[in-house]
């Protein structure tokens, strides 16, 4: 979604983390953005809070690239196929979240301008025993904007809850 407007040709572009790295995919040029197709309030471009460095801009006066526009339309179409109805949401989630028994970490970006942080807090409330953590100074694309902080949260959580100590593992339900 982030790479609106180009063929996703994998580029050798990585964010290095302690103990690993994230492979970045980038299409087109300019600031990465998210586009929401919806009436009222959306239907606008939302910049990331702290975008990764942009690819070089085309020379001024370059006409819009038809292929880029068509590719962006294809991307938006793929997204719409899955998320139009219900619109980027799941009305059944409220009652389903309570069924989660695994030790859960809900990690949310502090300054998400697409999905209000209240949603993440609600997840944490509804999932039994869930821990809530916020990544500071971070917009919607948490994994890309603050990969180190995010990876640390996840790694800490996973190492604290090894599968063998999970109740399902003890009962023999788990594989």
């Amino acid at each position: 979604v982030a790479d609106v407007g180009a063929d996703l040709v994998p580029a050798e572009d990585f964010l290095e983390l302690p103990g690993g790295r994230v492979h970045l995919l980038r299409g087109g040029t300019g600031e990465p953005v998210l586009f929401l197709h919806a009436a009222g309030g959306a239907g606008a471009w939302h910049p990331f809070r702290d975008p990764p460095p942009a690819a070089p801009a085309p020379p001024p006066g370059t006409p819009p690239d038809l292929d880029v526009i068509i590719a962006a339309y294809r991307e938006a179409t793929s997204l719409a196929r899955f998320t139009w109805v219900p619109y980027m949401s799941d009305p059944k989630l409220e009652r389903r979240l309570g069924r989660i028994t695994a030790p859960t970490l809900v990690a949310a970006p502090s300054d998400d301008r697409l999905i209000p942080v209240a949603h993440a807090r609600r997840y944490a409330q509804l999932i039994g025993g869930a821990r809530y953590a916020e990544v500071a100074e971070c917009g919607h694309a948490m994994y890309f904007e603050r990969p180190v902080e995010f990876a640390e949260l996840v790694a800490t959580h996973l190492s604290a809850h090894s599968l063998v100590s999970h109740p399902l593992a003890e009962s023999g339900v788990s594989r």
């Binding site: 197709h37 919806a38 009436a39 009222g40 239907g43 038809l66 526009i69 068509i70 339309y73 294809r74 938006a76 179409t77 997204l79 719409a80 196929r81 139009w84 109805v85 619109y87």
Partner: protein, 387 residues
């Protein structure tokens, strides 16, 4: 040529700051701006105008479907057709059309059109449209399914009208265990079908294969010519020459006693239609998946401008409106007939903006008494070969 009087039923009373304050006349334009008392008066007036067109001898009177819009006040064209069925006696009642792409239950369209066919004594024409892009937002229908929903709804409706026995329908978009409609339509095998085209070759082929009437929408003459030629070619590929009546040219028409008066009165009406009534944003018009990538490419490459970008003079020169005295309108429509390679139906958009009731009645009257007789000999089956 056969002539019909198309009513868009606009809500012309927009606030003075509309241009600055709102980026569209539909979907997000607040309905606080709708005055129900004025709306009720407009409905009464508009139905009077359609009924008058029937008395004047128009071959058809036409209504259409739009939602959440000041551009057209007919979420249900079938209701308007029902009202017209009891107050008119000769004209075809043309529903152009039902937006079957956004209907949750398209079988209802088959039922309602069948009812209308009986109520009108077999005078109903049934148009099918996909629904404008913004209507996929308004009705929460996934636009990526638009074409598939339209095609399946069409097939279902035709089968519901024509199948002599009960059937079940299990499709990707709709499911019915029992299809067995009562009443069935009086016209056999079913009411004539109209499909508007806007350049899609799939639509041209779809219409040509089924011998449906292919109608144009707002576009300059050179582009409409390409569409009509595409339809004629699709028919030729199937080995036949289409009956002229299967090609319908739709265009805004305004007639007054003199050219000077006609232009003076029509200018604000057409400017309202193209700048305000049709004001919409690209996101609204083209939701994701509403067009195929190929069609989008075609539209972008054709260099078609937004409809609001044309001046009044350009609209006239492009054949996107026809305005003048009866003699001038007759002459201009004759020119357009030649430039378009002929057509057998003229769907005149006579009521499109803030024109007064008396102006529209007079325009329709002049057209019926002076323009129609002069143009009627054109576009009948005999001269199909010459086009």
């Amino acid at each position: 040529v056969k002539f019909s009087f198309f009513h868009l039923m606009p809500y012309p009373d927009l606030p003075a700051d509309f241009d600055e304050k709102y980026d569209a006349s539909a979907l997000t334009y607040p309905n606080a701006n709708f005055d129900p008392k004025l709306g009720a008066a407009l409905y009464a007036r508009y139905l009077d105008e359609l009924e008058y067109a029937d008395k004047l001898g128009f071959d058809g009177i036409a209504v259409n479907e739009h939602h959440q819009s000041a551009y057209g006040l007919m979420p249900s064209p079938n209701l308007m057709a029902a009202a017209l069925s009891r107050r008119t006696s000769n004209a075809r009642i043309m529903v152009l059309g039902n937006a079957i792409g956004i209907r949750g239950n398209p079988l209802r369209v088959a039922e309602e059109i069948a009812m209308l066919d009986l109520m009108s004594g077999g005078r109903v024409d049934s148009g099918f449209v996909r629904g404008i892009g913004w209507e996929y937002f308004g009705h929460s229908i996934n636009p990526t399914r638009s074409r598939a929903r339209f095609d399946e709804a069409h097939d279902l409706i035709i089968k519901a009208w024509t199948s002599p026995e009960l059937f079940s329908w299990y499709g990707a978009n709709y499911e019915y265990r029992y299809v067995n409609i009562w009443p069935r339509p009086v016209q056999q095998p079913h009411p004539p079908i109209y499909i508007p085209g806007a350049g899609s070759t799939e639509t041209m082929k779809f219409c040509a294969e089924r011998k449906y009437t292919y109608m144009s929408v707002y576009a300059p003459t050179r582009i409409v010519r390409r569409w009509f030629d595409g339809y004629r070619q699709a028919a030729a590929d199937l080995g036949y020459v289409p009956d002229p009546e299967k090609i319908a040219f739709s265009v805004p028409v305004y007639v007054a006693d003199t050219d000077e008066q006609a232009h003076r009165e029509a200018r604000p009406v057409l400017e309202w239609l193209y700048r305000k009534g049709l004001k919409q944003t690209p996101q609204m018009v083209t939701p994701p998946g509403y067009m195929s990538p190929g069609s989008l490419r075609g539209v972008l490459m054709s260099g078609m401008r937004g409809l609001g970008g044309f001046s009044y003079e350009e609209l006239l020169a492009n054949g996107q409106a026809v305005v003048g005295s009866p003699a001038s309108v007759t002459e201009r429509l004759g020119e357009l007939y030649a430039q378009l390679g002929g057509f057998g139906q003229l769907i005149g958009l006579f009521a499109i903006g803030p024109a007064a009731h008396e102006q529209i009645m007079h325009s329709a009257e002049l057209f019926a008494t002076e323009v129609m007789p002069a143009l009627r000999p054109l576009g009948v089956a005999a001269d199909a070969a010459t086009t």
